[in-house]
């Protein structure tokens, strides 16, 4: 995973709450067995509408998405994060993220920055006044800046550290393999196993 410190890019306003993962990437695109190449699938249903925000020329190349509350609800599909990432988004800003989506983002280097709803609306207003305006997200200082306005965002300390260091979770966990083995030695004998199969 690449290290993430700051990113500056065109902001795109998605003025809706409850943007669920079926909207971010419809199920029909989940049949692929690769981990990349999902850019065409992002918001596939909505992108058929020529007026959809990402189809407008001023938001071409947008890399910071500013969305309504409860972004990423629904399915656990990490494909939603892959689609945002492959399209070119580096950060999503919202006042509330679904837990699984937020976790998935942190694994893939996509910054899920949580701000107050009033700050989301402030950013929407700035983007409406100056369509295509750039937004900067600074993970070091945990701020979102648009023009002269700066607002703080929240992210859990562990995810922030991992993103800034570009660390892979599995590698970190395997440093504690001795603890895993020790725990396995204490598991009760009545716990089920899938093998040998009984039916």
């Amino acid at each position: 995973m690449e290290k993430f410190t700051t990113h500056r890019g065109v902001g795109a306003p998605l003025k809706q709450s409850n943007v669920d993962t079926d909207q971010i990437i419809p199920a029909v695109y989940l049949k692929r067995i690769t981990k990349t190449g999902f850019e065409d699938a992002l918001f596939a249903g909505w992108r058929r509408n020529p007026d959809f925000v990402l189809n407008r020329p001023e938001y071409r190349g947008a890399s910071v998405l500013v969305a309504g509350a409860d972004f990423g609800t629904g399915s656990s599909r990490e494909h939603a994060v892959w689609a945002l990432r492959d399209y070119g988004f580096k950060a999503v800003i919202s006042s509330r993220f679904a837990d699984i989506f937020r976790g998935n983002s942190g694994k893939q280097g996509l910054l899920a920055a949580q701000v107050e709803q009033s700050d989301v609306e402030l950013l929407w207003k700035l983007m409406a006044e100056q369509p295509g305006v750039e937004i900067e997200v600074d993970l070091e200082s945990r701020t979102v800046t648009c023009g002269a306005v700066s607002v703080p965002f929240q992210i859990d300390e562990y995810t922030r550290w991992r993103l800034m260091e570009g660390l892979d979770d599995i590698g970190l966990t395997l440093q504690h393999e001795a603890d895993i083995e020790a725990y396995e030695g204490t598991r009760p004998g009545f716990k089920p196993t899938t093998l040998p199969a009984r039916t």
Binding site: D22, P26, G74, E78, I170, Y183, G189
Partner: protein
């Protein structure tokens, strides 16, 4: 949730958490938790297997891992080659990966194949006090046994494959207390839809929900699974119900249930898995079971629901500007007008199935309504059992005949029209009463319109052709 205070009164979720602690997180780092059971299916696993291969890692505990084919599988003809090339490729990839890594797989045509959240409990692999994960948000289903069970993304699937653990930040706890007695025709599906309408689709974020109270105690295991299944629709990662005699009776004798002395040791442990007197929840919500009616959604998220006896609500009354916008958008998508009585809404399709409501009790409850009645001509009805085993059992009980005599399609097991990854989809504008869990735009097919309902409401709707409760039906002559 703190796992260190073992002497203070603890909630059920805190106990299960503490019993799986491999390593306590230091300095704001997450705890490392052991995973007792990892369920796999074809959609969210291929990239995880690929990750293992690229890193030269093995799958640590194949004996705590099991796979089934469900999301993509056809439900009409399971014996021919799958027509959709990408679906076929995904299923073939699962088969190759399971072969290569030594994972037990139940494939199409196998008696144990079916929806992953139906298969685990049915085999007795889901037991109280376990940690259960799967790359599927409806893993919350298994919480009905007093397990801590939650959905994970594909990176986490790979992590569990490689380490049999997950780094997790502690959850908060929320008690959902449901006291009283459900009226006839009201089911656990109606309770959970009412809970979601009350706390909202984001209300459970960061929480593990514990369902408790006399109305929950009175539910069967399968009804409890329906409730826990939809915890994710309230934004919660997991829902749990303390195990009791109902739970033990359900587990006893299943293929992977403990036997002999192991059974006694297991039950002794399981009996400790209840929230202690005086334990504190971070939030409490109370629901009066006596007041509940059959519930139905009108919008495009599961929180947009009302009692079936009511009308489509007015967006002006939906709360703040954002909620009003969302409600207006939902009505436009759903092709509905505020003020229309829910029971006057005609549907084109009735779908009985999904990990929420496709178990034998769901099929029995629906069949009970349909027996001796005939289907509204304008409606098509599809019945998709949750597993091949459920299908066999239903056939042994003659339920398949009830469905086919009524005019419904009797299908093979899988996720089917819940998410339309296989050919079972709604056409644009088609309206469906569905026993599944998500009424998102396009979920059941591009442009499809979904109303979430219980199995008996689905059945009554198939009889009348408009959204209906069993109490709306004429008695069978």
């Amino acid at each position: 949730m703190t796992s260190t205070e073992t002497t203070a009164p603890r909630t059920l979720a805190e106990k299960v958490w503490a019993d799986h602690l491999v390593r306590q997180g230091e300095a704001g780092r997450p705890d490392l938790l052991y995973i007792d059971l990892h369920l796999l299916h074809e959609v969210t696993s291929p990239q995880a297997f690929e990750g293992l291969r690229l890193a030269g890692r093995g799958l640590r505990r194949t004996d705590l891992t099991i796979a089934t084919e469900d999301h993509n599988t056809p439900t009409e003809d399971i014996f021919s080659t799958i027509a959709d090339e990408t679906s076929r490729k995904q299923i073939e990839t699962l088969r190759e990966n399971c072969e290569e890594f030594g994972v037990r797989l139940h494939s199409l045509g196998d008696a144990e194949q079916g929806i992953v959240h139906v298969v685990g409990p049915q085999l007795g692999l889901t037991q109280p006090g376990m940690t259960v994960v799967c790359g599927d948000s409806h893993t919350s289903t298994h919480g009905a046994f007093g397990a801590l069970a939650f959905g994970i993304g594909t990176s986490e699937v790979e992590h569990v494959m490689a380490t049999q653990t997950l780094p997790l930040a502690p959850f908060k706890t929320m008690a959902i207390t449901v006291e009283g007695t459900l009226k006839p025709g009201v089911s656990s599906k109606d309770i959970i839809l009412a809970v979601i309408a009350k706390i909202g689709t984001g209300g459970g974020q960061g929480y593990v929900l514990e369902y408790r109270g006399s109305a929950i105690r009175a539910l069967s295991m399968e009804a409890r699974m329906t409730m826990c299944n939809m915890s994710i629709e309230a934004g919660a990662r997991a829902g749990m119900i303390a195990p009791d005699e109902t739970t033990f009776d359900y587990v006893r004798g299943r293929p992977h249930a403990p036997q002999g002395e192991d059974w006694d040791a297991a039950v002794a442990y399981w009996r400790t898995l209840r929230t202690d007197e005086g334990a504190q929840f971070d939030r409490e919500v109370v629901i009066d079971a006596d007041e509940l009616e059959p519930f139905v959604t009108w919008g495009t998220n599961p929180g947009q629901g009302v009692p079936l006896s009511r009308a489509v609500p007015n967006p002006e009354e939906a709360g703040d500007d954002n909620a009003q916008d969302a409600a207006r958008r939902a009505l436009e998508y759903m092709g509905l007008e505020a003020g229309t009585l829910m029971k006057e809404i005609p549907v084109d399709t009735v779908f009985l199935g999904s990990c929420t409501n496709s178990r034998i009790e769901d099929l029995r409850a629906a069949a009970e309504i349909l027996r001796g009645r005939s289907k509204a001509e304008s409606v098509r009805m599809m019945v998709v059992p949750g597993s091949a085993r459920v299908r066999l059992q239903a056939e042994a009980e003659g339920l398949d005949r009830v469905f086919t005599d009524f005019g419904a399609d009797w299908r093979f097991a899988g996720c089917s029209m819940c998410l339309g990854m296989n050919p079972d989809q709604l056409a644009p504008g088609e309206r469906c009463a569905s026993t599944s869990n998500r009424n998102f735009e396009g979920r059941q097919g591009k442009g499809g319109r979904t109303h979430l309902v219980s199995p008996v409401v689905a059945a009554a709707t198939a009889v009348r052709g408009t959204l209906s409760a069993p109490s709306d039906l004429e008695p069978v002559a």
